[in-house]
């Protein structure tokens, strides 16, 4: 039997993480959170979350980094913005979910073969390469890397969509692709220079 301490101590917190969240874009008002729970009540996904948005807001501003970044909640958020509209303190909750996702990807806080970060990375790669997204190719790329068997189970639907002219095999591409590459490189450069 493995015994675990179920109560967190002050020393378990990561003050750097708490500072980061309240200084990140959209996190300026997180200290105003009343813990009223309107975010959790309005969230269509909260019934599947390990920490509801209300709890997640509290854990993040207190600096419980491990709990927050390994929570399922940040991946369940579909960015529907219901919480943000309801929040009486106008906290940018959806945007904070994005910030947490970005940080969780950076620090590799997700299970292997988990499709959401893989999809995000493939999406970015396709934008850099073509400037536009071709949905059919994106889906294939993601499932080849995460769950090949699901590619087979979806082939029926794919075929129907192809026949309906909704799954073009040809890749969409913009003409001035060099502009996209220059744009992306410039952002990376400025970010480094200003340490953003």
């Amino acid at each position: 039997m493995e015994l675990k301490r179920t109560v967190k101590f002050e020393a378990d917190r990561d003050p750097e993480f708490a500072r980061w969240i309240s200084h990140t874009v959209g996190g300026e008002r997180i200290r105003h959170c009343l813990q009223c729970g309107l975010c959790s009540a309005s969230c269509p996904l909260s019934l599947y979350m390990d920490y509801t948005p209300r709890r997640l807001m509290h854990l993040s501003r207190e600096g419980f980094k491990e709990e927050v970044l390994s929570s399922s909640s940040i991946w369940l958020c579909t960015a529907c913005y219901a919480c943000m509209v309801e929040c009486p303190k106008k906290i940018n909750i959806t945007h904070l979910m994005y910030a947490l996702k970005e940080r969780a990807i950076e620090e590799r806080f997700y299970p292997k073969r988990f499709p959401i970060p893989v999809m995000a990375q493939q999406f970015c790669r396709m934008v850099r390469g073509s400037g536009r997204i071709t949905e059919s190719w994106l889906i294939v790329r993601v499932f080849l890397r995460t769950a090949i068997w699901r590619l087979l189970s979806m082939s029926g639907l794919g075929w129907k969509l192809f026949l309906a002219g909704r799954m073009p095999a040809k890749k969409e591409k913009i003409q001035r692709q060099d502009e996209i590459v220059a744009l992306l490189d410039s952002v990376a450069e400025t970010r480094k220079e200003l340490a953003l």
């Binding site: 579909t78 995000a120 536009r132 909704r166 003409q175 220059a182 992306l184």
Partner: protein, 291 residues
């Protein structure tokens, strides 16, 4: 006034019918549009979660391209609409983001001075053209067709640019002007799950199931959508979302397909044949011509 039309990636793929029918409505209402020159992906909700700063720069390229032409942007896709709007606001509110974006645009010879408006077709039809002008052009009233208007999330949230955030009615009004009956649909702004059906299927299906079941329960003949991803989710997974005891089957169209139909366009030019759940039987039962 001429608008810059920004289709977005989905309208070239799963949302083909949205583009076809939207362009048909533009023609019928004599709205002059020009496709945004060499537009790029807005980054959608996906890019924001990997690299926020870059996503603003990507969206800003489209804003700058439209600004150079001195035109407002029409963005039919809900994700594009939100991302472009959000980018405008964040550039205004955060000096660091503004610096990053201006430099990136400078590197490709573009400038952005916040002089472009991002519009949704719902907004343009309702506020620039007007219900009366549209009703006057209806040649095939959608009489007896009961439509559940589904707005989804990102058209009205988080920014209420032209409609109420909790109970939007712009699509209701447009459909009524086309002669359709609007079904009560309290879940009209509830999330469809977005890409969740692909990444976490059980959860995606759960959200889809309730949206369709409620439309059917309220007697709708068809669901009207404004977003390519909503349309895809609600139409393509009905069989999976339903059960033997509670089967789900209802055509899911773009609101522009219904409008174009009322304005006299023929089925083949507005992509009706691209539906996986055929709408023709419903139209025949209501004696609405579509050829």
């Amino acid at each position: 006034m001429k608008y810059a039309y920004y289709p977005g990636c989905s309208l070239r793929g799963t949302g083909r019918a949205y583009e076809e029918s939207l362009l048909a409505v533009f023609r019928s209402l004599a709205i002059e549009v020009q496709e945004l020159d060499d537009w790029n992906c807005c980054g959608a909700t996906t890019y924001l979660s990997v690299d926020e700063l870059t996503s603003y720069a990507l969206a800003a390229r489209n804003l700058a391209l439209a600004e150079r032409e001195r035109m407002d942007i029409i963005a039919p896709c809900a994700a594009c609409y939100l991302v472009l709007n959000k980018t405008q606001r964040y550039i205004r509110d955060y000096p660091d983001i503004k610096t990053v974006v201006s430099r990136a645009l400078g590197a490709i010879g573009l400038e952005y001075h916040d002089r472009v408006r991002v519009r949704h077709p719902l907004d343009v039809f309702l506020n620039d053209i007007g219900l009366e002008a549209i009703a006057a052009k209806v040649v095939r009233p959608l009489k007896g067709l009961k439509v559940a208007p589904y707005y989804g999330c990102q058209i009205v949230r988080p920014y209420a640019t032209f409609d109420d955030q909790r109970n939007p009615t712009s699509m209701d009004q447009l459909l009524a002007a086309c002669g359709a009956t609007v079904a009560p649909y309290p879940l009209k702004t509830r999330c469809c799950g977005g890409s969740q059906k692909g990444t976490l299927p059980e959860i995606g299906l759960h959200l889809i199931r309730y949206l369709i079941a409620e439309a059917q329960m309220n007697g709708a003949d068809v669901i009207a959508t404004v977003c390519p991803l909503c349309q895809f989710n609600l139409e393509c997974f009905q069989k999976e979302a339903g059960s033997i005891r509670h089967p789900l089957s209802i055509p899911v169209l773009y609101f522009t397909q219904l409008m174009a139909l009322a304005l006299g366009a023929s089925a083949a030019t507005i992509g009706l044949q691209r539906s996986l759940v055929p709408v023709e039987p419903v139209l025949e039962a209501k004696e609405i011509a579509y050829a």
